[in-house]
Each structure stands twice: as structure tokens, then as C-alpha cells.
């Protein structure tokens, strides 16, 4: 027993580490056993809150059945529209005198543009062309816009990206996993900031303030109190100021 164990470790290292598939092809169909694994993995996901049902939703099933490339296109479209929507929300916030909320929307828009650009890069490496259908955003009051923004960010964080990550892991698409993961981490931060703004809306009146956005992963913060980006480990100097 003791003698065979190191041997099995050696074999595992040799087979696991040396013959890694960097596959770019995404399987079109998912075998039933893999589907069950996908569901098990997603049921345990949702580590952030109990706001959504932990069961796998029909929405997630859709992303699990799609190819990684299709998911990238969906995510690219979503991020592009989110950036456009937040810029419209920022204008409205400025008009209503919520300067700090306007700055937050502009910072989040910058982050969504970064996510869209990251997804677009991966789409291109897979030989496709990024496509987004920009729709005219519905702009309401700043309070309502914040509520819409929170639900949008949480849907991406808790439903869309977790399912896309599971799918991309199964396809071995490292670039896609990295891009989805950067976006997923940043979206939680956006939701937290929007919640903070909604809770303290009246104190967020006034002129614009500074937010800081990572140019690599879109992670968004009110102040930089770290040397390296907590999400992608790039030096903090790579952050841009958005007001």
C-alpha cells in the first residue's frame, strides 16, 4: 500500500500535469452525467446571499447548454448594454443632483466596458467576431435606476456568470474563465456600491467624487488601500480615476 502510493502520485502528476488539454473546441452537447455535475456545482454556488434560490434556474440551464463561445457573446452583449445603460443613468443622476451616484455609474460603466473588451478578446481568439445589440435604456428616477442596477448586477453575479464559468471549466477555456471571473468579481463590488448608494441616497447628493477602476479586470473601489488589485493582482498604479 505504502509502496504503491508514491507511484500512483507520480502517475497522476505525469498524466495530469503533462498532458493538459488546452482545447479550443467547445462540445455542442453535454452528456447527462456532466449535466448532473453542472447542476450539483451550481446548487452549491451562491456563496454571497440567500436572495436567490440555490436551485439551478432555467436561465442557468440555458448557459450550461450553450457553448462557451455563445456564452461569451451573451456576456459581451450584456456588458456592452450595461455600460450604455449606466452612462444614461449617470446623466440622470447628475440632473437630479446626485453627483456621487453619477460618478459611481460612470465608474461602473467604465468597468463594464473593460469586461466587454476582455470578452471580445477571447471571442476573437476563438475565431469569431464580437456582436452586441445595443438597446435604448429605460431611464427612471435615480432611486429606481439604482434598484435596476442592483438586480442586474446580482443576476450576473449569482446566475449568469456562475453557470458560464461551470461551462467554460468543462470546456477547458482558460481565457474565458479568466474573463468571466474578472467580471463576476467586479459585479459583486458594483452591487455592494449601488446598495450603499441606495441606502444613503440623500448623502450622495452634491458634486462628483472619485472612484477607481482596474483597467485589467474592472474591479471598482472608492479608495485604493492596497498595493495590488485584489481581483487580478495587477499593481494598483494601473487603476484609473473616474469621477
Amino acid at each position: 500500500m505504502l509502496a504503491t502510493r508514491p507511484l500512483s502520485v507520480l502517475v497522476a502528476v505525469a498524466t495530469g500535469a503533462l498532458f493538459v488539454a488546452n482545447g479550443t473546441a467547445s462540445p455542442q452537447t453535454t452528456p447527462p452525467r456532466q449535466q448532473q455535475q453542472q447542476r450539483d456545482r451550481l446548487r452549491q454556488h451562491d456563496p454571497y446571499s440567500t436572495e436567490v434560490d440555490a436551485a439551478v434556474s432555467a436561465e442557468q440551464e440555458k448557459y450550461l447548454k450553450a457553448t462557451t463561445l455563445e456564452n461569451l457573446q451573451t456576456a459581451y452583449d450584456g456588458e456592452s448594454n450595461a455600460a450604455n445603460r449606466y452612462l444614461a443613468f449617470a446623466k440622470k443622476a447628475d440632473q437630479e443632483g446626485y453627483g456621487k451616484v453619477g460618478s459611481l455609474f460612470r465608474a461602473a460603466a467604465r468597468a463594464e466596458q473593460i469586461h466587454a473588451a476582455n470578452h471580445a478578446e477571447v471571442i476573437k481568439t476563438l475565431g469569431a467576431v464580437p456582436k452586441a445589440e445595443i438597446v435604448q435604456p429605460e431611464v427612471k428616477t435615480t432611486k429606481e435606476n439604482l434598484e435596476v442596477a442592483i438586480s442586474g448586477e446580482l443576476a450576473e453575479r449569482q446566475t449568469m456568470y456562475p453557470a458560464m464559468m461551470v461551462r467554460a471549466r468543462q470546456d477547458g477555456q482558460r481565457q474565458a474563465i479568466r474573463s468571466f471571473n474578472f467580471a463576476m468579481t467586479a459585479e459583486q463590488g458594483h452591487a455592494d456600491l449601488y446598495r450603499k448608494a441606495l441606502t444613503n441616497l440623500e448623502s450622495w447628493r452634491g458634486g462628483p467624487v472619485d472612484f477607481f477602476v482596474c483597467t485589467v479586470c474592472g474591479y471598482t473601489v472608492e479608495k485604493i488601500d492596497f498595493r495590488k488589485c485584489p481581483s487580478c493582482f495587477i499593481p494598483a498604479e494601473e487603476y484609473v480615476k473616474v469621477s
Binding site: 503533462l18 498532458f19 493538459v20 488539454a21 471549466r169 468543462q170 471571473n181 487580478c232
Partner: protein
């Protein structure tokens, strides 16, 4: 199929070398203090192991940052990951300094005397070795803590590097407040 694993997938393979080598290296310095007659070779062996360990630390930090980009975050995972990364980077920098310092001691005590005939005064080299070991102890504390945080990520939170598409069957990172896992 690829014969060369992706950079991020190398982290689990690489990370154990600096831990083992940098912990073993000072034992040779201690041995050189005890067995004076063979001290030259023991100190050179210690330096060689330290250099290899420090190279391992450089690779471990680089591969670790790539692996970290693929790790799904929860607030707890993010906190441990950040601490692991910061400790690992500090450890790498400290051992770069310690290895350079030890190389200077070895050169001053063994290479220069052979070349120019100048000898250190008796007792100076052992004193330098003892001071170095004290400094090295601080580096080992950092190393062990960095390794421990890495161990927590794997054994407490289930965060693993992605070795291959099929090698990712485990659940996503989980929130747990259980006792710490093993060092890794």
C-alpha cells in the same frame, strides 16, 4: 493536447519546492557550525539549496498569480487569497535578500581568502552564521504562514488550480468557518 502545462496549472507542482528547500537550507548552516572541518562544503551546499528555493519562490509567486485569476471568489476566499498573495510576495522578496546576503558571507569567508589570501578573524564566520540564522528564522516564519494560507485555500475552501478540463470536478469555493486545514 499540449506537452507543456499552462502557467497557472504549474502552481501546485512548483509551490512545494521552495517550502521544502528553504526550510532545509538552514540545517546545512547549522551543520557547518557543528562540523567546522567540512564547513566550506556545507555552506556552499546551503547556498545552492537557498538559490534553488528562491528560484522556486519566484516561480511559485508568478504561477500563483496566474492560478489566482481563475479562482472563484467569495468574501472569505478573497480575503485569504489576498493574504496568501501578499505573504508569498513578501516571502519571495525576503529570501531574495537573505540568499544574496548569504552568498556575500560565503564569498567573503571562502572565495576571497583562497584568491587573495586574506582570512577572516577566528570567530567572525560562526558569529555571522548565527546572525544569519536568526534573520533566516524570520523568513521561515513568513514562508510557513504563506504556505499555511495556501493550504487553507485548498483544504478549507476547496479552491484548486485548474489542471485540465476534467480535473475540475469539485464544488465551487465554499464558506466555512471550520478549523484550518493542513499547510500546503
Amino acid at each position: 493536447m499540449s506537452l507543456i502545462p499552462p502557467w497557472d496549472a504549474l502552481h501546485p507542482l512548483v509551490v512545494h519546492f521552495p517550502i521544502a528547500l528553504l526550510i532545509v537550507a538552514p540545517l546545512f548552516v547549522v551543520a557547518a557550525l557543528v562540523w567546522r572541518r567540512g564547513s566550506s562544503w556545507l555552506l556552499i551546499a546551503a547556498l545552492a539549496i537557498m538559490v534553488l528555493g528562491t528560484i522556486g519562490a519566484l516561480l511559485a509567486v508568478s504561477t500563483g498569480e496566474s492560478a489566482g485569476e481563475l479562482a472563484e471568489r467569495t468574501p472569505a476566499v478573497a480575503a485569504v487569497l489576498e493574504e496568501h498573495e501578499e505573504l508569498a510576495e513578501t516571502t519571495r522578496n525576503v529570501f531574495l535578500g537573505l540568499t544574496a546576503l548569504f552568498a556575500a558571507v560565503v564569498v567573503a569567508s571562502h572565495v576571497l581568502p583562497r584568491r587573495w589570501g586574506s582570512r577572516m578573524r577566528p570567530g567572525v564566520l560562526p558569529a555571522l552564521q548565527i546572525v544569519f540564522l536568526a534573520l533566516y528564522g524570520g523568513g521561515v516564519v513568513l514562508l510557513v504562514n504563506a504556505a499555511h494560507q495556501g493550504g487553507r485555500l485548498v483544504h478549507e475552501f476547496g479552491v484548486t488550480a485548474m489542471l485540465s478540463p476534467s480535473a475540475q470536478p469539485g464544488p465551487p469555493p465554499i464558506e466555512r468557518t471550520a478549523a484550518h486545514g493542513d499547510d500546503d
